[in-house]
Symmetry: C2
């Protein structure tokens, strides 16, 4: 008798478990994280930053882009995404007085993020790290730190840390502008409802099993979702999945889309969706296979899709939009006989310099 032989791991078991944790993680951010985020936001607001710079890599860069929309629209402050190499490779020394520099990182461990945050602090910026590791070098080097409280993430594709980052950043910007973030309270239950509809996503996944390319598009608040969905699909399924803002798609890459190039559109229920409408019309006119994640009426007008619950403020919809798309990446990967937990060539903490 022996219990030493390894049980063959079930492909995607870890990623599936972490996706399923998301309603609980969101609840934890609301219950345990929000008071501290509010306190930090009040301190930062009192210092009156005029410009906001946001930094991240990979999935956390997409969360940073979401925060850029919040800062520009809700807070009315100009914002930029950092080109990190200007500091870490070229040694640029910028005047960052009156700037808030927000660095988003799951691990808080990448040396370039630590170096660029240290440089920003020395250049006069108020620095804030948003990470899933309160003991990380990045949390250490930043003046302020927000813990996204997602618990250890073991699968290589980040899922629960992304939605936790989104919610933490939303609560931060709400705090900066003196709001209470109450609209977010409905998210955990809504997220659980979306996650329960796995069968719908599995049916959608059939369509991409043999796809050789994918185009994702959105506008406004939904654009970070399109980018994150493309990243998730690329790193798990290996299908080249290219994200475009709807406006940029019309400026060139539309030529790439035809009836063999499937398109996934993330359609916000609100102004972003309205701005995307002419793009959707053009895509339909070209006979594109169009799958929509968005309001029921938009799904009904597309080839197929996944309808999101109505009544959620547009700025909070990204927390829900990504859920069926994470699952889609998972299901397509399983259908192609690969393991979503362990894409080839990747390490969980990427050490870029």
């Amino acid at each position: 008798m022996s219990d030493t032989h390894a049980v063959a791991p079930v492909p995607g078991r870890v990623m599936a478990g972490e996706m399923a944790e998301q309603p609980a993680v969101l609840q934890r951010v609301l219950d345990e994280g929000a008071p501290r985020i509010r306190a930090i936001a009040a301190e930062i607001a009192a210092r009156g930053p005029r410009f906001v710079l946001l930094t991240g890599r990979g999935t956390s860069d997409n969360a940073a882009l979401y925060a850029k929309y919040l800062v520009e629209i809700l807070l009315g402050r100009p914002a930029g995404l950092t080109s990190m190499s200007t500091t870490t490779a070229y040694g640029a020394r910028q005047d960052l007085r009156d700037c808030l520099v927000v660095t988003v990182s799951q691990s808080g461990g990448s040396p370039d993020l630590v170096a660029s945050t240290r440089a920003a602090r020395e250049a006069g910026a108020v620095t804030l790290a948003v990470t899933n590791n309160a003991a990380s070098p990045l949390a250490e080097v930043s003046e302020y730190h927000v813990d996204v409280l997602a618990g250890p993430e073991k699968a290589l594709p980040a899922t629960k840390t992304y939605t936790a980052e989104l919610l933490a950043l939303y609560l931060l910007v709400e705090g900066l502008r003196g709001g209470d973030g109450a609209a977010a309270k409905a998210l955990p239950e809504l997220a659980a409802g979306v996650l329960a509809r796995q069968d719908e996503v599995r049916a959608l996944a059939e369509r991409y099993r043999f796809a050789q390319r994918l185009v994702l598009t959105s506008r406004g608040y939904g654009y970070p979702t399109a980018r994150e969905a493309a990243l998730k699909l690329m790193e798990t399924t290996y299908i080249p999945a290219t994200p475009f803002s709807g406006a940029d798609l019309l400026h060139g890459p539309l030529a790439m889309v035809d009836n063999v190039s499937p398109v996934i559109a993330v359609v916000p229920d609100g102004k972003g969706g309205e701005a995307l409408q002419p793009v959707l019309d053009r895509l339909r006119g070209r006979g594109a296979d169009l799958v929509v994640v968005g309001p029921q009426a938009q799904v009904d007008a597309a080839s197929a899709g996944f309808a999101l619950p109505a009544g959620v403020p547009e700025e909070l919809q990204p927390v829900l939009e990504i859920l069926p798309l994470q699952r889609l990446a998972y299901e397509v990967t399983i259908a192609r006989g690969q393991d979503p937990d362990a894409p080839r060539a990747l390490a969980k903490v990427t050490e870029t310099h």
Copy 2:
């Protein structure tokens, strides 16, 4: 006798002609454009902007990204790329005092660029338009205007306006920091030398005739080139061509690259190239087909490539780097039996709102 029957147009004739004009256009920017750019830069510098926002779509967005590197590294000012929909779709009203807003557009005609520039001016920003049309609505609505003097561009893929925008933006940032931009004087002759080597590019194009995907990568000053090359390849050849900063490639999409996914790396001769080195090593380790545009030694260490002239300051290399890549898009398109002058589904002036 009749001369009314149409002569069949030669595919790509217009694009080829416009690419060939580039040395003359660069010379015109240096001779006729530079004095006015210098004068505008002096006026703007006297107003002491502390934060720079850059806006563009498609090819001009890639030129704007190049300017972002210049602003951060050479000028030492924080900078951001505008998310235009925050203004045009969401009506965000930002406090833009002490901000310089630079809007880059070939036609100067896209309504969203005009609207966002008008909003920026009303919000207190110093506004500058960089366009190829001095009579355009965008030039009209901006406080300052720089004409890139490229002459009418008729082919749908932008080529000569891109390099003219790069040079104009370089001279602008040089002016803002009190430099004379003298290093740019060598560019027209160097560009002519690069353009003369068409046979080398045609040989490289063989390799991609049947390619189903492409990955482009770079870091630092070369990253806008990687993005612009990807856009050019997508809009002419319709091959999905995905650009990644080298650091982002390691954070996920590397899984997509294997020995059937060709990679084109733009390797700056300088700090950007040094920072890219670990990425090139990883790609070689995975058996990727690696084509390099960069220094001779980097080309020699790759599967194939196109060597750029030595001795050019790193911040000016993008003006030369893009030339063989524009030509590559042209040659691959011809080899695939398509017409580079008129990609399907595109209009020259894209009216996004």
